[in-house]
């Protein structure tokens, strides 16, 4: 629209134009390098086009050149907030293919670690979600409590974020002697802090106004889009693999699958808040009963999977994480596919955000809890 335009022509052009905004790749509320292309009418979102791939690293291609134990370290870099679950998925997949059974102790520790990761992930999500809605204080509360878990991780695994603690056949090393004590301390402390979270955010009137009835996702759509994890369970989609396809020690513990049927942002929020309680329940049931034994099986130096296809589903903090390994009998896989929960969750955002405002889009994408490296792979 350079140059001179008569006024009436200007008006008609403005009427016809779509008002398009690029939200991202550098934007505070996409939590990484994701780009939403929005078409707006006033403040109302007409459609959303997610553009991803800004940190596509070709992890699936890389796995074809490396051995199975090495894949573990790449899966950390997918969803870095549920690194432990991703590791577990690959380990379980390889173990199933080799048809070996890991010791009970390993199963228990894996489950505890996975639940701790889930707690840490949900804490970070809570922190960031509050910030998306403009309540900046939540960020520091969430991160403060997450620090305890990271300390526990650091003590046992030597790493705070990308733990690489699981490996085919067991664990990389045994738990730290203080592990049980520290975990119990953390849970005692966090049970006290969680009501504080609720006071700060959950009960707030503005928060209710901002989240209730926003970003509706029906159960049918959730299933069809494959929206899993807390986001799917907020729509009443019973997709908790810990319950339906138990792995590790989940068949030995008693816990509820959190389901909310409203399908709005608030329901997804509630699912995660309740899941934190459930995770603590699970850890409490296991932490005192970790059986004695080896922390890993003796594995061959070079792992070769028999020819065939293997699939493993695991419930990560954001939903169903899947590993599909196609082996041709060599020491490196023929093809590995990671089913990342964020990728499917993201695909629903257009149908969820249409007709809502920009501010709602931020709330919706926050409630989906997207981790960009996971969906970009």
């Amino acid at each position: 629209m350079e140059g001179v335009l008569p006024i009436n022509q200007v008006v008609s052009e403005v009427e016809q134009q779509e008002y398009i905004i690029n939200m991202g790749p550098q934007h505070p509320s996409t939590h990484g390098v994701l780009r939403f292309l929005l078409s707006l009418k006033g403040e109302v979102v007409q459609y959303v086009q997610p553009h991803c791939g800004y940190i596509h690293r070709g992890i699936e291609k890389m796995t074809e050149k490396i051995t199975y134990p090495q894949i573990i370290h790449l899966t950390d870099r997918l969803d870095y907030l549920s690194a432990h679950m991703n590791n577990e998925a690959v380990s379980l997949c390889v173990e199933n293919a080799l048809q070996i059974e890991v010791p009970e102790r390993v199963k228990y520790i894996r489950t505890i670690m996975a639940e701790l990761s889930r707690l840490a992930s949900h804490q970070l999500w809570w922190a960031a979600f509050g910030m998306d809605l403009g309540a900046l204080t939540t960020f520091f509360y969430g991160l403060r409590d997450r620090e305890y878990i990271l300390d526990i991780f650091e003590q046992t695994t030597g790493s705070r974020l990308t733990q690489s603690y699981n490996c085919p056949g067991g664990l990389m090393n045994d738990i730290h002697p203080d592990f049980q004590k520290k975990v119990k301390e953390f849970i005692k402390n966090f049970r006290k802090v969680l009501p504080e979270y609720n006071q700060l955010l959950t009960g707030n009137v503005i928060f209710h106004e901002r989240t209730k009835g926003i970003g509706l996702l029906s159960k049918e759509d959730a299933i069809s889009f494959g929206v899993t994890g807390p986001s799917g369970r907020g729509s009443g989609f019973s997709c908790d693999l810990r319950k339906s396809h138990p792995y590790s020690a989940y068949d030995k513990v008693d816990f509820k699958e959190i389901l909310y049927t409203e399908g709005d942002t608030f329901a997804r929020y509630q699912v995660r808040m309740d899941e934190m309680l459930e995770s603590m329940n699970i850890i409490e049931q296991l932490i005192d009963n970790i059986p004695e034994g080896d922390y890993a099986l003796k594995m061959k130096a070079i792992i070769k999977l028999p020819e065939g296809e293997y699939y493993q589903r695991v419930e990560s903090a954001r939903g169903e994480f899947g590993v599909h390994i196609i082996s041709d009998g060599n020491k490196n896989p023929y093809r590995v596919k990671f089913r990342s929960p964020n990728f499917s969750n993201l695909s629903a955002i257009d149908s969820m955000a249409r007709g809502f405002k920009i501010a709602d889009l931020v709330a919706i994408s926050g409630s989906l809890d997207l981790v960009i490296p996971d969906l970009d792979k």
Partner: protein, 362 residues
Amino acid sequence: MPFDIYDLSTFTHWIDTSLRAGMSPFWAVFTEFVLVGVVFLAFYAVVGLFLVYAERRICAFMQCRLGPNRVGPGGIFQTIADLIKLLFKELIYIKNADKILFNIAPFIVIIASFLALAAIPFGKGLQAMDFNIGIFYVVAVSSIGVIGILLAGWSSNSKYSLIGALRSGAQIISYELSVGLSLIVIVILAGTMQLSEIVEMQRDGWFIFTGHLPAVIAFIIFMIASTAEINRGPFDLAEAESELTAGFHTEYSGIKFAFFFLAEYMNMFIVASIAATVFWGGWMPLHIGSWEGFNHAMDFIPPFIWYLGKTAVIIYLIMLFKWTFPRLRIDQLLTLEWKYLLPVNLFNVLLMAFIVLKGWHF
């Protein structure tokens, strides 16, 4: 009257007469202008720096962290260091921006807050201009600031800025109504718009106590509406960093950004001082009925301390809002104003008029 020991009008009169004795009237007035200007500039800078520091410490206190604590004792020089950094930062010029408007916008915002500062009584006799329509003047002048924001948003030629500016425009135009009406409630009670007289009338009791329920309602509405008018959280939609990155000042850098930043804090100060003056008696000490001893003791605290203390409490309240609540959405913001605050306000005006007519106030 004991608190007249702190009456500064004799001091200012003495300056005036001694200046006039020494030079022609023109130069005397000119010197006074310059003096007042310099004092206000210095005050502006000091208050701005202090408020930024206070905001950081309060925010840190709310968020379980320390806040600035390295530069100087307790980090008090942190804001000065920031200022130096902002001064040295590159001023980025945007291609295809409307350069004139882009450069004018920060000045309009900051001049509006300067103008409002002129009418505020800091103590007895310590007021740059004592208009007989003081409140009206403050409301009028503060309504100019929004133009700076609108210009900034439009002239940056950025879509985020434009949305921020539009939001801010809608917001400020709406909330000006509530600010004005809640002040009118007190004007009805006081019968004057002159700020010095309003303060003087609260000698025996602040309006928030003597004005019964309507004054309390007016105060609450004023706090909500003025927080919205100065674009602070939870009403900071114009710059909503999680949605619009920084809203209307997305494209500003260096000292021009600092102007917006400073103006925001000064507006907060002005709003807080108006609230303190109109509802909490300005520089008037706290007097309770017939407690003579207590009242005497209170009188010995200088008025400037009273004034600053009240202002600080209200600023602290506004800061607490920001660091506690999530942000509203634009439609909710307008709903709050037009469907709740405005009707309540109109009713409140009637109620106050009724009370004043019946003479039920103290």
